[in-house]
């Protein structure tokens, strides 16, 4: 196999809301991570207080649309982790 360039990193803006924001102690940060990172694989890097797996009740939005946690992120994406919704 030929040598290749190291995979380029990507920078994403990560946002937290409501109870999740308060549990984690921050609302927003810019993070640089490896290409191929998904919301689910990024989650443990955020040092969540309740273990490494993204809780089933937490939903993910990429660029302000609901997305599958297994979606590969793109450079510049806005990624949000959303605790259970209680609107209306």
């Amino acid at each position: 196999m030929a040598a290749s360039d190291p995979p380029p990193g990507l920078t994403v803006r990560v946002r937290l809301f409501a109870s999740l924001r308060e549990a984690m102690g921050w609302a927003e940060q810019r993070l640089t991570t490896a290409a191929g990172t998904t919301p689910a694989s990024l989650w443990p890097q955020l040092d969540p207080p309740d273990g490494e797996a993204l809780p089933a009740t937490v939903r993910v939005a990429i660029n302000q649309q609901f997305a599958d946690p297994a979606t590969p992120l793109a450079d510049g994406d806005e990624l949000a982790f959303l605790p259970p919704i209680s609107g209306g």
């Binding site: 946002r15 809301f17 409501a18 109870s19 999740l20 308060e22 549990a23 984690m24 969540p48 207080p49 309740d50 809780p55 009740t57 937490v58 939005a61 302000q64 649309q65 609901f66 949000a80 959303l82 605790p83 259970p84 919704i85 209680s86 609107g87 209306g88």
Partner: protein, 149 residues
């Protein structure tokens, strides 16, 4: 088909909102209007008197998601027009927190669209409620491990 959604940091009169919206739509009044108004209760989930409800949202996504949900529901039921008004921020007991209004030519589609859209926005629009009671704030439906910490 017309869809109008907006978020309101300040109290609004539900009927005034609907009347102004209908006037802006112009044209003949629809044969069927289905309307739902949700107000903040006087008591918190635990039965204690509620001082206020705090409504957090995701600026940008919440508006876009309301628009998507309302448009999808309006298309699905073939109605003429849909309006959603939703409070954000601190909402006092008795205040209207959400208004959904649907205009259609028939009562069935108007009622079904109104009902469905209300359910959709309760589950798929990014809002988070925190009940304030005796100076303590508690997230509603915050039954995930993370919120217990």
């Amino acid at each position: 088909m017309s869809v109008s959604v907006s978020l309101h940091p300040d109290p609004f009169g539900p009927f005034l909102q609907v009347e102004q919206w209908q006037q802006q739509l112009g044209g003949d009044p629809a044969a069927a209007t289905s309307l739902f108004i949700g107000r903040v209760r006087g008591t918190a989930s635990d039965g204690q008197p509620l001082d206020a409800l705090e409504l957090e949202h995701y600026p940008g996504m919440t508006e876009a998601q309301l628009q998507r949900l309302a448009t999808a529901s309006a298309r699905r039921h073939g109605v003429a027009a849909v309006m959603v008004r939703h409070r954000v921020g601190l909402v006092l007991s008795g205040d209207a927190i959400v208004v959904v209004a649907v205009l259609a030519d028939r009562r069935g589609p108007a009622q079904r669209c109104c009902h469905e859209l209300l359910e959709a926005l309760k589950h798929d629009a990014p809002f988070w409620k925190r009940e304030w009671s005796s100076g303590v704030g508690t997230w509603v439906e915050g039954n995930t491990p993370l919120t217990a910490g």
